[in-house]
């Protein structure tokens, strides 16, 4: 089963694919640490349409990581997300991965 660190990295990587900003490389505590769980999707130029369209990529990446334990997300699930942290939380909830205390950061 995938660890929390794996799920978090995968979720950040998917979001990174839909923004021109280098989210994954500069996500706290690595890189310049410009981004964190509190980073808003709008600040990454990701709006609701982009989130709705992210569904296919998200399901593919998380399905590959988590296997059968991954429950697919839909557009209704994705358009609710306003921060990167909420995306990580959704990935955990859909994969049955427990969020450690204090996460997502």
């Amino acid at each position: 089963m995938a660890t929390y660190a794996d799920v978090k990295a995968c979720a950040i990587d998917v979001v990174d694919d839909f923004t021109e900003m280098d989210l994954a490389a500069n996500y706290a505590p690595a890189g310049k640490a410009n981004f964190s769980a509190k980073t808003k999707m709008t600040s990454l130029t990701i709006n609701e349409t982009t989130l709705a369209g992210m569904t296919i990529r998200f399901n593919k990446a998380m399905g590959k990581l988590c296997g059968d334990s991954w429950n697919k997300v839909g557009s209704f699930d994705m358009v609710k997300l306003t921060t990167v942290g909420q995306c990580i939380q959704l990935a955990c909830a859909k994969s049955g991965t427990n969020l450690p205390v204090g996460e997502p950061k």
């Binding site: 990174d16 694919d17 839909f18 923004t19 021109e20 808003k40 709008t42 130029t45 990701i46 709006n47 609701e48 349409t49 982009t50 709705a52 369209g53 569904t55 296919i56 990529r57 399901n59 593919k60 429950n71 697919k72 997300v73 839909g74 557009s75 209704f76 699930d77 358009v79 609710k80 997300l81 306003t82 909420q86 939380q89 959704l90 955990c92 909830a93 859909k94 049955g96 427990n98 969020l99 450690p100 205390v101 204090g102």
Partner: protein, 338 residues
Amino acid sequence: MNRTGTLALACAALACASASAEVDWREMVQKCKGITDDGALAICIREGIAKQEAAEQVIQDAANAKAQKEANSVAFLLRESSSSIASTVGPKIGDGGASLSYLRDSLKNTDATVAKMAVFAVWPVPKSWASLQPFAGAAWQRDATKQPKKDTRELTAGMLGPFWATTTGPGTEATTLFTTFQATHRNDRYGTTDGDQLRAQLDWAYEPVSSGRLLGGLAVLPHVAGLVRHRSGGGPEDGVWRSAYAGVAMAKPVDIGQYRFKITWIARKLFDLKVPDGNVKRRDEYSNLSVEYFFTDPGDKNAPWQSSFFISRETGADFLEYGDKVAKTTAGLKLKFR
């Protein structure tokens, strides 16, 4: 490190941690404070931290279980009409909240209600499906201020989501096709628009344009759709209507007051392809330009309610809602339940 420093650190750590767990850290610190032996003091502090961490873990475990249950359960949405479900995909155009008004004319001694309500249940995406999410709902549209009165009830079911993308890998230039398949059964209490309807809408999202990145924040989402209606209300329009419509939805958040203004515009043109004998093929147009000011942060999806002031200009016939041709400007307060 001296005793004061150790206690201060422990206090800070426990105070920080107690933000998410309800453990009386002050009592623990007071308890440790009275210990004179350094070794015993360290044990006391460690016990306090362990107790705190255990309490936090219990809270976190409960939160994890709740989040996992909610993420895989049916969710409910309140909207203004059965057709507004599709605007969950896209720049939220036409995504008005439900409304229910009661009007009393004391001179004529009459009452009237105006209702625009739709309740939707949304299920998680089944594992064997692509990425389409199923939904079902019931809608009620009533306007008793008009003569004749309008009162329709609808049952609807369908699925929506992206079903094709140019890439499922990294890339910000993706083109995605969204689809909405929706079947609706309609009962018209005062009119003749009873019947059944099938709608298949395709929204085309080229990511640099639909995200607003290319056009300075202006998000543009064109769409095309096919519509089949079987009308059975007992009027001359009874029969099968086959139509198509095309349109575009645009949205632009305005950079005033922390993006709390939003301008949206939707335009559609309907083409009847086949109509029952004796009816004329329609070429109806519909346009709705709206400016909305949000009293709360529109990005705060955790807020159960969202209030806003809006002014909108509507022209043409909203054929998805069997609307008459209008040219009207509406302003008001909107309260939306998420």
